[in-house]
Each structure stands twice: as structure tokens, then as C-alpha cells.
């Protein structure tokens, strides 16, 4: 396994947000974590990126433990997160936001290549390259956050609810981009979503979370077709 998170426990003050969660991802996979609001999806990503310390558990990436590293060290190993809620740098231009994504890179030619790739993936960003990020629409900001993540040339990209608060036409565009990133750029992806319909369609495998525990895991296509699962965990809105 490329990424292997074992038995994660995470708490806020005294409330346990994750109670023994194990998640794994193979190289080249898109794995989705789905579940209702408050289930603990973001907490998993924050644990992986060391923004939230673990109570217990372990995380291996590419065969090495990373649960003692700092956020910056984890980013340097190629795990890059596009955080929930479209955290662009609002007062910077689109270009400066993208360049911040490449902050740890020194290969000028490679950075220019990534920039071309991101602007080809999201032509809208090319049109707005000099615009202040905070003045763009929700969907455009989301594209920027994903594009900024790609500028780091990630090996594993963590996407936290990229469809949240985004207009439906943009959701399709973003979904297509995620598939592209995975296929063409060979980036492994963990996709956190409440929009399980979209997530199950484009991912290879899925984990379903309920209040801090994994209640179901399996192939996305199988879960998508399973009537009982749909009703029990996904509010019947899968298709």
C-alpha cells in the first residue's frame, strides 16, 4: 500500500472525532471518503497532514512512517492537501496563489510546466490569472485551490469536499479535472465528499464513515449499485 493509516484516534478537547479509523490507498488510486457532515472525514485528512495531532494510530507513506513529521515535512514528501472551504489566499492574484503552491520547488522549468498543465486543465484560471483570488466565484476558487495543490507536483493529493458550495456546472468540470489529474498526471487521490454520487462515480474504492468509524469499504462501483447501502448510509441520493 502507498498510504496506510492504521487505527487513527483523534479528539477535540474531550470529544472523539475518530475512533479507530484505518484507511489505505494503492499507488494510482482514487479513494473516496464519504459520510455525513461531522462524520470525521476532514479529521482524517488533517491527521495525515499533521495539522491535527493523533491520540494514537500510525500513518505510513511509501513504506515510511510519517506520523511524527511536521506539516511542512509531509508536504515536502509529496502529500498535498486542498483544504475544505476554498482556502485561497484572498488578497493575492491567481498567479501568486498558484506560485505559492510551488513554494517548496526549485526546478524553474518544472514549475513552468506545471503552470501550463494547470492552466490547460482549468482554462478559466488562465482568463483570470491577474485577478485577486478573493473576488472570484466559489467554483473558480475551488479550481484555484486544486490547481494550487497541483503546482506542488504532488504524489498524493488530498481533496476535501471540492464540490461543496460550487455551482452544478462547475461540479462536472471539477470531477472531470480530478479524473484527468489521476490518469494523465499519475497522481493518487483521496477525495472527501458529501456528494457521494459524484465521488462514487469517479473513484476506484470508497470508505463510508459514520461518527468516527468506518462502517463500510469496497469498490466504488459495487457500493454505488448496492440498494441497501444507499438507504442505510447515503440518504438514498446516490443516483
Amino acid at each position: 500500500m502507498y498510504l496506510e493509516a492504521r487505527d487513527l484516534h483523534v479528539a477535540y478537547d474531550c470529544v472523539m472525532a475518530l475512533r479507530g479509523v484505518s484507511v489505505a490507498l494503492d499507488r494510482g488510486e482514487i479513494v473516496t471518503l464519504i459520510g455525513a457532515n461531522g462524520a470525521g472525514k476532514t479529521s482524517i485528512l488533517r491527521a495525515i497532514t499533521a495539522l491535527k495531532p493523533l491520540e494514537s494510530g500510525s500513518i505510513l507513506f511509501d513504506g515510511e512512517p510519517i506520523d511524527r513529521l511536521s506539516t511542512v515535512e509531509i508536504v515536502a514528501r509529496g502529500i498535498v492537501m486542498a483544504p475544505e472551504g476554498r482556502h485561497v489566499f484572498p488578497l493575492m492574484t491567481v498567479k501568486d496563489n498558484l506560485m505559492m503552491g510551488a513554494f517548496l520547488r526549485k526546478d524553474r522549468a518544472g514549475i513552468a510546466e506545471s503552470l501550463d498543465m494547470v492552466l490547460a486543465l482549468f482554462p478559466r484560471l488562465r482568463e483570470r490569472i491577474a485577478q485577486t483570488a478573493g473576488t472570484m466565484s466559489g467554483g473558480e476558487q475551488q479550481m484555484l485551490v486544486i490547481g494550487r495543490g497541483l503546482m506542488a507536483k504532488p504524489r498524493l493529493l488530498l481533496l476535501d469536499e471540492p464540490s461543496l458550495g460550487v455551482a452544478p456546472i462547475f461540479v462536472q468540470e471539477i470531477a472531470r479535472a480530478i479524473v484527468d489529474i489521476n490518469r494523465e498526471e499519475k497522481v493518487s487521490i483521496i477525495l472527501v465528499e458529501q456528494n457521494s454520487r459524484m465521488a462514487l462515480k469517479i473513484s476506484h474504492r470508497a470508505y463510508v464513515l459514520v461518527t468516527g468509524k468506518i462502517v463500510l469499504e469496497g469498490n466504488s462501483s459495487a457500493i454505488r449499485r448496492d440498494e441497501r447501502v444507499r438507504h442505510a448510509y447515503l440518504g438514498g441520493n446516490v443516483e
Binding site: 495539522l51 506539516t71 511542512v72 492537501m81 489566499f89 484572498p90 493575492m92 501568486d96 513554494f103
Partner: protein, 285 residues
Amino acid sequence: MGQVLFNGIYTGVQYSLIALGLTLIFSLMNVLNFAHGQLYVLGGFVTYYVYGGMKLPFFVALLASALTLAAVGCLFQIFLFRRVMRRSVREESSMLLSAGTAMMIESLVLIFFGEKHRGVPAVVSGVYELGGVFIPRGRLLVIGLSFLFIVAFILFMRYTKPGRALRAMAQDPETASLMGVNTARYAILGWALAAMLAGMAGAILVPISGVNSGLGNWISIKTFIMIMTGGAGAISGAIAGGLALGMVESLGYHFFPGGETYLIIFIGLIAFLAVRPNGLMGKAV
């Protein structure tokens, strides 16, 4: 009137330079640095010592002030603010700490340099006269240097990688760390820059106004006025606030030589903030 305008610009650009450092620390760390004026005074005394005392060239003294204060800024962050802010859960702790460091620096300056007002020989002498306006060359040098440092600072923040990282950190520290910005290290850089700017402002003014150990609080208060009118946290706000205060002060001293100027300024400030609580530019970097 031309004279009032010139004096306003002269005072305004140096104020803008002083305000930049305060606004930088505020936007990066959410710390209102009460010791900013004391850092300015310390910068002035370093130049007094190196240029006035050791008789080295003025630009060497300016460099010494800049480097000394940058070092002081680093030490502030590493040994004081980082430690306190890691543990504290209340915003007031950082304010109390900065007020404490203000007293500490003031006392140290008093011990090492005494309580006398200190001056040094002028760096350049002579006066231009332009249509009845007297323009001392020394003041022209202050305007030129302040302008140069302000522009250099803006270019640094806009077009260099560390500058971009500092702006990113001010706007969203956690996301900046997700880009790989070592925020602990950049906080030190921020403090070094802010203290350095204050120190350079102090240094370039010694040849004209001199310096004494008790100036610090008054400078800090004036700087608070500038960033409140300009908009706390915004570089453009610091510059606008500095120029505005310089101009108003110059007008005030012209029309009210008796010393009512700051009374009027404070009343005006209260009225202004009632109308525009976020200042001219709002909060932003």
C-alpha cells in the same frame, strides 16, 4: 503653505516607514506591538553611538542600526513571543508581553545611553529655497531614504518568494503551512523585518531630531493612530495613515503653534473611527 506641505511630506514619509513594521507584526502575528517606538529609539541610539560616537560614516551607522534591530526582532520572537503565544489562550497575553518589552528596552536604553537628549552632526548641510519654501538638504535625505526603504519593502513583499510567503501567512497561516511555508521560521523573519524598519526610521532621524530614551511611547501611540486611520494590517493603510498624520500634524503646528494639535487630532480620530471603524483601507496585506 508650500512650507506646510513640505513639512507634511517630510513628516509623513518617515511616519509611513515607522508604521510599516507595526502593521507587519499585527497582520502576521495578531500582536499589537507596544514596543515599536522603543525599537525606533534603540535604532536611533545605535546610530548615535556608531556615527556620533565612533565617527564612522553615516551609512555604516544606518547599516549597524538595521542589523542590530533585525537581531533584536529575531530574539523577541524566539525567546519571548513564540514561547508566550504557544501557551497562552488569551489575546491580552501578547499585548502585556509587548508592553513589558517596551519597558525593558526603555530601561536598557536609559542604563546604557542615559537620559540626555542626544544629537549627532548633520549628514549633509545646506538649504535649498524654492519659491519661498525652505528645503533643508538633510530633510531631503530623510525623505529620499524613507521613500527608498518603503519602496524596497513593497517590492520585497510583492515580488520575492519570502515576501509572498509572509503575505500568504498573514492571510491564512494554516494554508500557508500546507504550501510548505515554515511558519515558525517566517514569524522570526517578520519580526526581524519589522524591528529593522523601526530601527532604520530611528537611525535616519537622529541627525535632524536627535533621540532620547523617553521618546518610545509617544512614537508608539502615534503609530497606533496611523494604522488605525489607515486600516490595521494593510501595507497601503500604513502608508496612507502615515502620510495623513504627517500632513495633519504639519497643518496643526502651523495653525495652532500653542500645542492644541494632538488634542484636535485625537478628537478627529474618534470622529473618524465612528464613521469608518476599519480605517481607510480595512484589514488586509
